[in-house]
Symmetry: C2
Subunit: 540 residues, 2 copies
């Protein structure tokens, strides 16, 4: 068989050959929407390759991007790796301290920065040790006023770039192509390096019926940011499969997302549960009827999706809502909660139970849930730590001693505690570090959170472990309500009574505190460590 | 990223973990249908691994199979490569001379033979130089009467095999896993070796929306034989995706296939056009109404599918009928004629035109149509030779000097002449060796054949080049009619007039001869060389 490497250039060539007429719809500001055909996208991507060549690009060199979801970022997604360099997708929501750390740690030499994010980079620029040029992406960029010495307008560079540039055709599939950093519980973020092979295989898997079934007919809108785990691979897969792509740009609101769904007839969209909670509220409160019927699949991931949320989209709006599971270390898609044929006869409530799990492991990826007795049975009850291996699973953190904590015996130890259902679906019950161990027994904070979030009054809920003299740890619930609370004590009693219907008495939180918001990580996950520290102070 | 190899053992493990309850339905004789769950299939496959280990199996050793489509053959499909050996799927329809050649050339050491095919092997056994054991597959096998010295019953061996055998977990993805021989225009068949990597990637691609979209919900019935290019990858993909598999066994008729579709609710089936012509005739003539509405896709390939055939299934029976293109050298799937979104507004006749082409190249595979001016434009007119490269395309023939003819500059030269439509679809117009060159201009015999086959009276048509004193070559049409002909001259005139509507005058065949059947290769392709020789004699 031919030794044809699995490289991203094959995706670009496919878009060029077959999908030149298909569109990328890109919202770059409050007022600007670009519609460029793939034909132009490929020309611009090659020009960006020529520009980078002009900056002395070498194989393996790191180029950082600091940008929202738009066509220019998509051009960088291809031009950088197809040139043999590595695109470091910098998470714009990190603290300045962490930003400085990861850009220096990755040794980024060039930064591609959105014009509206430039002030952030300017404020830390003096601390960046390896960056030698900044290229500003935007519709109308003036770089003359910046203090950064070597700064350029992306569009000006493209306008001057030569037209006859071609990407190298000798890339090895194991060449690094991208990298993302993931927040750690303590300390600086940890880097994960993706290869051409891993990005290609991962993106290919998104076209499988068993995963997202992405194809040429789809209008794909990744709401998940392109600075967050390759936007779950959707931008890469979209180009390969010739999907129409809708990139929602900066500062979008639920209303803007619904507008885009309506106008572009989006068929598949993906993001964290917070996005869908917001969209649901917008749909409910909108005075004019909104039409999201073009959507054939919403993919939700990053944290647990409350059943009430799934049910609302599926039952009220008739939009299939699936849960995906993954993490930065896994590119990210590991499993998807598609219904299997045996579920066709199930009641909706049972189907909903399956839907809200992390689903079935996709092809080529292997998952194992293990505890001290080995692999757990498929009983939906026995908990263990989820471990993963496969061709798009990291084997290390980039130049980081913490590698040894997570990568052992050829497996990634996720730190997620899970059970496996009789159907083989993974159900995450908790994080190892957030587990509540009450009297030697585990309590799943996620189950309690999901229970609380099905109550009409509750917008968000986080359950954390608080130290307890007798039981070692006991659960404490932190709740954000939809409306202002009239009688806190009454609501507290009501919520506890509500939980009591579904949970053992000893699982019930010892207390419920009402908060204005739950602190979250830069990628929208509950920051339970912070919550615990804050509340520890308050409750003293 | 982890260096996880792409090996077939991952497919087997997936079936074991998630699809133990799903069924393989296997017709092994006129009267016997087996229904075994994947759980048992995996146990039996491991037992076969243990049996082969007992025969001194080594990495890279060749094991031949000589069998129809059934669960035992499927067990061999996995047990042999997962043990590190190579499954040589011997084409049972070859001549004894060619059988002897390929079994000796591949150096098969063990043969897995269907009981009803054993006489064929017995008749050539004395000529086989490397075979040291024959294992007979069947429901009720008695090997005591055979003259073959080292002969065993498959079921007896499995019954005695140890239960605790596990396949090795250190297979390299570039290890050879399977091989098939392809008939040559002249000389002995040529061998193609598949690797774990090529078979895995090819099978994965069958799950893509853009290809067959195979998934757990499918009931897949490969009618294409398992001794013909991996049965187009369906048995491998079916195990990985957890499809219900229906394997139609020996000597099936169109009626039997329709019975299986009805009883098992087949959703996807694949085979050569001759199968579908036969099924269509059976549907038309059946006195009781037949129900094939469970079928969501018929895949047709191996030779051109007449438009009338496609139209009948799509319009009359409401079953989507897609064309796939490939060859032994390409594992085989290269392209598929799924409708793209731009065709949604087209008239059915235009869609049918697209449907009957070889379609769009699937992901990871690259096709190029080239003539003396380089790559042909997407005009649907300019002809060139189709060349292919990709991770499941062969780079050589096994120990064969004819490698240099077909594999050049990293591409497979198919010998097929094609055009590319504005949508990027490949349309095969002829074989290089069957092209009709009339007065320096090319005439497509395939176009003429398709034209003739749309006429109500015509069952099959083959058009060949005959030598001509003035024009060098001129087309001659060979036609098989549905019914007996009353007036040959009148029908000839009618067919020529019929063609004249769609073809330039100089394309029209100089003559039409009526035959009882068109000679075909062992895999159902027109044997034009033989036709030309026979007719050369007749017409002298």
């Amino acid at each position: 068989m031919m030794d044809t490497p699995l490289v991203l250039t094959s995706f670009l060539k496919r878009a060029e050959t077959y999908f030149g007429h298909k569109k990328i719809i890109s919202r770059t500001s409050e007022t600007m929407i670009h519609r460029i055909p793939y034909k132009d996208f490929v020309v611009r991507t090659k020009k960006l390759g020529a520009v980078l060549e002009g900056f002395g690009l070498q194989r393996g060199m790191k180029i950082g991007s600091f940008a929202w979801n738009h066509h220019r970022h998509l051009e960088a997604y291809f031009a950088v790796p197809c040139s043999g360099a590595v695109l470091h997708m910098v998470n714009i929501r990190l603290s300045p301290e962490h930003l400085i750390y990861i850009i220096n740690h990755a040794e980024d030499e060039i930064l591609l920065v959105d014009d509206n994010l430039l002030p952030l980079i300017e404020s830390i620029y003096s601390e960046l040790k390896t960056v030698r040029a900044v290229i500003v992406m935007g519709d109308d960029v003036d770089v003359s006023t910046s203090d950064i010495p070597s700064i350029y307008s992306y569009e000006d560079l493209l306008a001057e770039a030569r037209e006859d540039f071609e990407f190298p055709d000798d890339l090895d599939e194991k060449l690094p192509a991208g990298m993302c950093y993931t927040s750690a519980t303590t300390g600086f973020p940890k880097g994960v390096v993706y290869t051409h092979r891993s990005l290609v295989l991962h993106a290919i898997s998104l076209g499988l019926t068993e995963a997202f079934g992405l194809g040429e007919r789809d209008v794909s809108m990744p709401v998940v940011p392109m600075f967050h785990v390759n936007a779950w691979g959707l931008p890469f897969a979209g180009v390969n499969y010739g999907c129409t792509q809708v990139l929602p740009g900066p500062n979008f609101t639920p209303k803007i997302l619904i507008d885009l769904i309506e106008s572009e007839k989006v068929t598949l969209t993906a993001g964290v549960p917070t996005i869908w909670l917001g969209m649901l509220q917008e749909l409910e409160k909108s005075e004019v009827p909104r039409d999201i019927s073009s959507v054939r699949t919403i993919v939700s991931g990053g944290s647990a999706s409350p059943k009430g949320l799934i049910k609302a989209f599926e039952q009220k709006y008739n939009v299939p809502f699936i849960v995906g599971y993954g993490m930065t270390e896994t590119s990210p898609i590991v499993s998807v909660s598609n219904y299997t044929s045996e579920m066709d006869d199930w009641d909706y409530e049972d189907k909903l139970e399956a839907r809200s799990t992390q689903g079935m492991t996709v092809s080529l990826i292997e998952t194992r849930i293990i505890n001290e007795n080995g692999e757990v049975p498929n009983d939906g009850k026995t908990m263990g730590e989820l471990t993963i291996r496969g061709p798009w699973i990291a084997d290390s953190y980039y130049k980081d001693e913490r590698t040894a904590d997570a990568f052992r015996d050829g497996w990634l130890y996720t730190g997620d505690i899970a059970v496996r259902t009789p159907q083989g679906f993974i159900k995450i019950t908790d994080r190892t570090k957030d587990l509540i161990k009450s009297g030697g027994e585990w309590i799943s904070s996620v189950d309690l959170e999901n229970g609380l979030m099905t109550h009409d009054a509750v917008f968000e809920a986080a359950v954390i472990a608080m130290p307890h003299p007798k039981w070692q740890e006991r659960p404490l619930a932190c709740v954000v309500t939809h409306k202002e609370i009239e009688d806190e004590a009454a609501l507290k009693a009501e919520l506890l009574a509500y939980l009591e219907k579904d949970f053992a008495k000893w699982w019930l939180p010892d207390d419920i505190v009402f908060l204005k918001e739950i602190p979250k990580t830069s990628v929208g996950k509950f920051l339970k460590a912070k919550l615990r520290d804050d509340l520890g102070e308050i409750l003293k």
